[in-house]
Amino acid sequence: MSLALKLPRLRLKGGSSLWVGGGLVAIAISSAILAPWIALTDPVLDANLMNAELPPSWEFPFGTDAQGRDIYSRIVWGARVSLSVGIISQICNSLIGVTLGLTAGYWGGWWDDVVSGLTNLMLAIPSLVFALAIMAILGPGLVSLVIALGLTSWSYSCRIARAQVLSLKSQGYIQAARILGYGDLRIMFTQVLPNILGPLIVIATLGMGGAILAEAALSFLGLGIRPPFPSWGSMLSEARDQITTAPWLSVFPGLAIFFTVLGLNLLGDGLRDYLDPQSTTRRG
């Protein structure tokens, strides 16, 4: 169309969100890995009722909880649980969702009907209730938490993948690949998937944040990580009663969740732009 003037390509696409988001996520991940060295005290054993519910100070930078344990140390250790649950369960969700969505969108027909039906079913049942049911069968613990959350919220990835495939399927280069003799799986993985990764990455990072929050909810219900070992969610849940008397109990785990989820979202945005072949930042 003649209105589409040939614009010069814009520079600095998504550069800042990539770095800020990456930085936040890197801080979270490194604190999880380095927990034994950067924690000031043992998160479970160093309870001291003499120090109960102290506000932030030089000795306890984020304050202490009702048992007198250092909140900072518990957050650092808690990063291990929260991040591993978030990342691993979302990887499961993405793998299931993308595989189902890609094949359903590409093949269509009865398989598409089956997958769409299953997706709608999953969307109709609140995923937290579903996860609860799985947890009730498997019993509490980190592994069952990952399984429960990793099997219950793939429907978003699946829907996005399917919709993207449907819009790409009629593109000339997909047809050209079929004409060149490419098999269906080869087309899906070499022609379709690389071109729909952007939105899927964004969905995956959002999902990681969601999984971290779901872990909190399950831990609160006593089905997640058993106290006294800390996770951000369980810390937040335990702090509920003292929110007015000792706000630091909930503020700091809350901030940890907030910055991690924010970082994941920014990273997702930045990655989407970075992976776009038309962005100039890539080969700079």
Partner: protein, 325 residues
């Protein structure tokens, strides 16, 4: 028949559309009994308006849609509704150039990968040979070797179409189906691509099916021309016959509709068609063109005209094929 590279025999592609609950299922006869053949090294121009079924016909020839009736014979290989094509063998025989040079290239593949992957898929594993063939093909379509590692967005529309042509020719096919290869390009670029296609045809001994609505282009490149209307071929013949002595009123209407100041008086205004193409879901009875036809008579609404011979090799499906001129 043996000498034909492509032969379509009574090819029909029908679709079921609609919903059994809402309004009932109807049959859309997108292609309805097309008989055609293309000889090696020949260019067949295929003309028709949107909705005439030429895109469906193209997909069927490419083996992407199964025929409902009839057969497609490609280089001695028979395809019908019950015998699906061998896609690898098809790929080395018939290829396609697409209309939209923007949507037809994978934005995440460099030119090199776009051209090298099909070679590897078809069993050329020697790295040096793949490289030579990629660079040779790029040179043939007018791209420089240092452009091999660029992505499609770094090229202009005309250059992208060159890449599309290179991809179609990399497996050395015998027949290339060109679907409106220049209509999405800037006007000042079209001549480059048309010249290139003709050079490559001579150079590699290719046969083309040239789908276009631009009759100037079709006349320029075609050896024979087929005119399609609502799923059927209504006129077919040598290019000179079709353009100088068109016998179907629809062909005449197409020619009359060309806005060419040099040609203004050549065909009288009464050759123009009225209205628009009907839906293939509900084609008019008798001759499908009758509601738009300046020559319509009673017989036209009653029966579909035979695809009769006007002169050797020139056929038209019109009750008045001998009168029109």
């Amino acid at each position: 028949m043996a000498e034909s590279l492509l032969s379509l025999d009574g090819l029909a592609v029908h679709f079921k559309v609609g919903n059994a609950l809402a309004g009932g299922i109807k049959t859309l006869k997108a292609v309805d009994g097309v008989t055609l053949d293309v000889k090696p090294g020949e260019c067949l121009g295929l003309v028709g308006e949107s909705g005439c079924g030429k895109s469906t016909l193209a997909l069927a020839i490419m083996g992407l849609l199964p025929p409902t009736r009839g057969t497609i014979g490609i280089d001695g290989h028979q395809i019908s509704g019950s015998t699906p094509p061998d896609r690898m063998k098809m790929a080395r025989t018939v290829q396609m150039v697409f209309q939209d040079p923007y949507a037809s290239l994978n934005p995440r593949q460099t030119v090199r990968r776009t051209l090298a992957d099909p070679l590897r898929l078809h069993g050329i594993t020697d790295k040096a040979e793949v490289e030579t063939r990629v660079i040779d093909m790029m040179a043939k379509v007018g791209l420089r070797p240092e452009q091999a590692d660029r992505y499609p967005h770094e090229f202009s529309g005309g250059q992208r179409q060159r890449i599309g042509i290179a991809r179609a020719l990399i497996l050395k096919p015998k027949l290339v189906l060109c679907d409106e290869p220049v209509s999405a390009l800037d006007v000042s670029i079209r001549a480059q691509i048309i010249n290139l296609l003709l050079e490559l045809k001579d150079d590699m001994g290719l046969a083309y099916i040239m789908i276009s609505h631009d009759l100037g282009v079709v006349e320029h490149v075609s050896d024979r021309v087929a005119v399609m209307y609502l799923g059927r071929i209504v006129e077919q013949g040598g290019w000179q016959e079709i353009f100088e002595n068109p016998r179907h009123p629809y062909t005449r209407a197409l020619i009359a509709a060309i806005p060419d100041p040099f040609h203004r008086a050549a065909i009288s205004a009464d050759a123009k068609a009225r209205g628009e193409i009907a839906s293939a879901l509900n084609p008019p009875p008798g001759c499908h063109f009758n509601p738009r036809c300046p020559l319509r008579a009673d017989i036209c609404t009653a029966e579909y005209p035979a695809f009769g011979e006007v002169s050797p090799g020139h056929r038209a499906a019109c009750h008045f094929r001998d009168r029109v001129s």
